[in-house]
Symmetry: C2
Subunit: 105 residues, 2 copies
DNA sequence: TGAATACATCAAAAAAATTTGATATGATTA
DNA sequence: TAATCATATCAAATTTTTTTGATGTATTCA
């Protein structure tokens, strides 16, 4: 059941916060805007998350892996860096599944 | 953040299954229908969950406690038994919070 | 009342998830 | 090419969650 996996990923406070940061992010660190994918102008890289969250690198990396593997976040390598952005569609899909399972609406 | 707590509860496969069972339950075990709360004709008791899920009593009890404490399930003691029913409004609230946090719609 | 039934709670064990520090990989830049 | 920077991965330690078996409490029923 996919919604269980999504719920697990969403149940960690740090990941939830990261997801909200990604949803809200309009600018990027570490590189000029020209490095960004034109279709996805938003995004954050690990280094920004590290300083923003005051967490060591491997810890950020671990949580980003969880987020990406769940599909809630997409990643986009740009040279040395890796940018992340929220996959809002995945959240919508999760919500739809939840509604269906819980016989809502 | 409340949605994190809800997500944690929803991230366990057993609890998710129980919640779906409660949502779908129209009849009850262990007692005549007259024992049921008239406002909430659905519901299941521990004993039915035990046999349905093939789990020992303390395990069912643990998960029901988690579900009740999260607000996803309401309980209703009826004499010797305890009936549970899904609180669909709580799921809806969770979904609304999620939508808000993820800037959806 | 006393036996039986249903559920709660507890502590210990087991399992799963997270954190950390060290090291590895891979791209960039001097 | 060598040094540097950003990120990935790993194993061990820690923390959190779940499971189990034992025991406690409350209600029902004979």
């Amino acid at each position: 059941m996919d919604s269980i996996k999504i719920a697990r990923v969403l149940s960690d406070p740090i990941r939830y916060k990261i997801l909200m940061m990604l949803v809200s992010s309009e600018s990027s660190c570490c590189s000029p805007a020209s490095h960004m994918d034109t279709d996805n102008p938003t995004g954050l890289c690990n280094c920004e998350l590290m300083s923003e969250l005051d967490m060591i690198q491997s810890r950020v990396s671990y949580h980003m892996k969880e987020l990406v593997e769940s599909g809630l976040v997409n990643e986009e390598p740009r040279g040395k860096w890796k940018y992340y952005y929220a996959n809002q569609r995945k959240v919508l899909d999760y919500i739809e599944q939840l509604k269906k399972d819980m016989k809502l609406e």
